[in-house]
Amino acid sequence: MPIVELEHVRKAYDTKIAVEDLSFNIEPGSMFGLLGPNGSGKTSTIRMMIGITVPDSGGINLFGEPFTRKNLHRVGYLPEERGLYKKMKAIDQLIFLGQLHGLDAATASRRAHAWCERVDIMPAIHKKTEELSKGMQQKIQFIAALLHEPELIIMDEPFSGLDPVNATVLQDILVELRQAGRTVLFSTHRMDQVEKLCDNICLIHNSHLVLSGSMREVKSHYPRNRVDMVFEGDTGFLQHPSIEDAKLYSGRAEIKLRSEDGIAPDAQPLLAEAIRRGTRITRFEVKEPTLEEIFIEKVTQSANNGGGKVYA
């Protein structure tokens, strides 16, 4: 039974449509990516899932039943716009938020200390929020979402503004939680960040669903038609007829090959051409398209077909 079910959900604010006819399921124990550019409706979708707003039409089920507030204790939420009380000490803040999620003060305090140790911010716990660095504040907020051991963890742009080291710390924690059987929902516009993390994804654009399914499934629909080249010398090979589109950087090229009906194209002729021209090749890699490339392709496609309102 899916832990989250959305059926034909629609939400409009005044004249602006935030979400239109959105349906997807999140299976328990999976890591789900809700992806899309800024303003595509990700946060609006999440807010409806946790009852901050109510959909205009369509249904949302959480834990297999229609939304009820009591189920909110089973959800951990990290909002996109971080908010902590500026004048409050970090540890008091965590205990307070833990209590709001139904913990007693002692349990909240014990878990908060353990988590702070885990993410290495023990020296900061008796400081006020306004004295902490952005990264530390984000860690506190991250902990606040996990303190009550929620079954469903919702993270809206969890890594934005974090340096790579700290981003990895949080990422590892999320992977660990998923392995422990929790369900994790990510929302982000940085598709490259979640590509290796997510089991399932849902791509939205301008309030509409563009693509959804398991990562493997989505990728399998797209042939390995990308070539990454690192080279020195003549660039004349870029005129080869098998190339549909190419981006040339200094000593590097990202190439998209012509392909038909999902059949992987042959990259050998291109390689032969480059060698014939005497280009020195350091790297020649045939790859599947990245999620971002799939997204852009999908969005332009539907624009060409006249479907949806696409400005990208």
Binding site: Y13, I52, T53, P79, G83, L84, Y85
Partner: protein, 412 residues
């Protein structure tokens, strides 16, 4: 309920611990105390013992004046009589004034004819001796009247009994006895409410704006409802205000307590309050505060900055001002239909109903109804505020217009 308590507790503890709260709580009573001490120190001294001289050719008049002035109850005067004056008298007196041995002298020039009055001229050491001047004037008046009456052939004892001050007894029957006291306590309630609402009601609004700018609400809304946030904020911030006011009131009572007890014992200040009235005083004060605080919460939900909030200040002040003007109508006829209706309007109940309760016997159902109406309106205002809050924060950025606010109430 538990969530409201948590929000209120956090709000209360965080605020009570701030330096500004601790400082103002301690400093205000200290300043009050200091003010009283200074007042006492500066007030008592100059009047304790004034020495003045009366210069007159008419010795009897001078002696009468001496007796009259020295009999003054409020101030202690020592009066020297110089009669008759000699050539150097004025110079001597001026010299005494200059080296502060004397506070002033009264120079009486005899009348030229028996029908005319003598002329009086008072020379004080400083212009500030206003009270002294008034005392001398009063003494002169009574001495002169007495003298004239004796001249007309009246017996001295008759004159004395005629000059006795009148005693006005103000005992009235029944409940009306305490109407002055009632009025005084209503005025105290009015100013207390005005003061507390101005000082702390706006804090509720500010705290809600602060929550919006810090954007904590999104985490909160993921677990609790906006109604709970509103109610918690109102109670928490409100309790901070009440704590401070009660500390100040306590300090004020301690400072003035001795004086007040003395005054009451001396019969100068007569505040007759029974236990029921004291209970009603606090019930209406707290309910009134909560009602106005809930309006402040709605104002905070509507606005995005302190500046915008300032412009809406009037919304809180106007209903209170209306109460003040309505008080006149109610006092003159506390059981009229108008008074009953006014006292049932929730925004007026705290003052007007309390006023009626302290003047006349108000039917229990009216008191019950007024309290129920107040509770209902607190709930209704909070409900509206939480709606505006919830929709407002999700569409932040611009100031909502009234039609928009009305439309928001329909959103869920």
């Amino acid at each position: 309920m538990h969530n409201i308590w948590l929000i209120a507790k956090r709000e209360y503890l965080e605020r009570v611990r701030t330096k500004s709260f601790i400082l103002t709580t301690i400093l205000i009573p200290l300043l009050m105390g200091g003010g009283i001490v200074v007042a006492v120190l500066t007030q008592g001294k100059p009047d304790t013992n004034s020495r003045i001289a009366v210069v007159s050719a008419d010795q009897q008049l001078a002696l009468d004046l001496q007796t009259e002035i020295e009999s003054n109850k409020d101030h202690h005067y020592t009066v020297d009589v110089i009669s008759p004056p000699v050539a150097g008298t004025r110079t001597t007196l001026d010299g005494e004034l200059a080296n502060k041995q004397l506070d002033g002298y009264l120079w009486i020039t005899p009348a030229a004819t028996s029908a005319a009055r003598p002329t009086f001229s008072y020379t004080p050491r400083s212009d500030r001796a206003y009270a002294t001047k008034e005392d001398i004037k009063a003494a002169l008046r009574s001495v002169l009247i007495r003298e004239r009456l004796s001249h007309q052939g009246m017996v001295a004892s008759d004159v004395t009994s005629l000059m006795q001050p009148v005693q006005l007894d103000t005992t009235q029957a029944g409940k009306n006895d305490s109407s002055t006291a009632a009025y005084v306590t209503v005025i105290i309630l009015f100013f207390l409410m005005y003061f507390v609402i101005m000082l702390y009601g706006m804090n509720v609004a500010r705290s809600i704006i602060e929550e919006k700018t810090s954007r904590v609400f999104e985490v909160l809304l993921a677990t609790i409802t906006s109604e709970e946030i509103m109610a918690g904020k109102m109670l928490g911030v409100g309790a901070v205000g009440l704590t401070q006011v009660f500390i100040w009131l306590g300090a004020a009572l301690m400072l003035t307590g001795v004086a007040a007890v003395q005054a009451m014992a001396g019969g100068q200040l007569h505040l007759s309050l029974n236990a029921a009235e004291i209970i009603f005083f606090f019930v209406f004060f707290i309910l009134g505060f909560l009602l106005y605080a809930s309006i402040a919460a709605a104002l905070g939900a509507m606005t995005n900055s302190e500046q915008e909030l300032q412009q809406l200040n009037m919304v809180l002040v106007l209903p209170l001002a209306a109460c003040f003007f309505a008080m006149g109508v109610v006092v003159s006829n506390p059981n009229s239909a108008v008074s009953v209706i006014l006292s049932l309007i929730p925004f007026m109940t705290p003052l007007i109903m309390y006023l009626r309760i302290s003047i006349v016997a108000v039917p229990v159902w009216q008191i019950g109804l007024s309290i129920a109406l107040m509770l209902a309106s607190i709930y209704a205002v909070l409900w509206v505020a939480s709606r505006i809050y919830r929709v407002g924060i999700l569409m932040y950025g611009k100031k909502p217009s009234l039609p928009e606010i009305l439309r928001w109430l329909k959103y869920s």
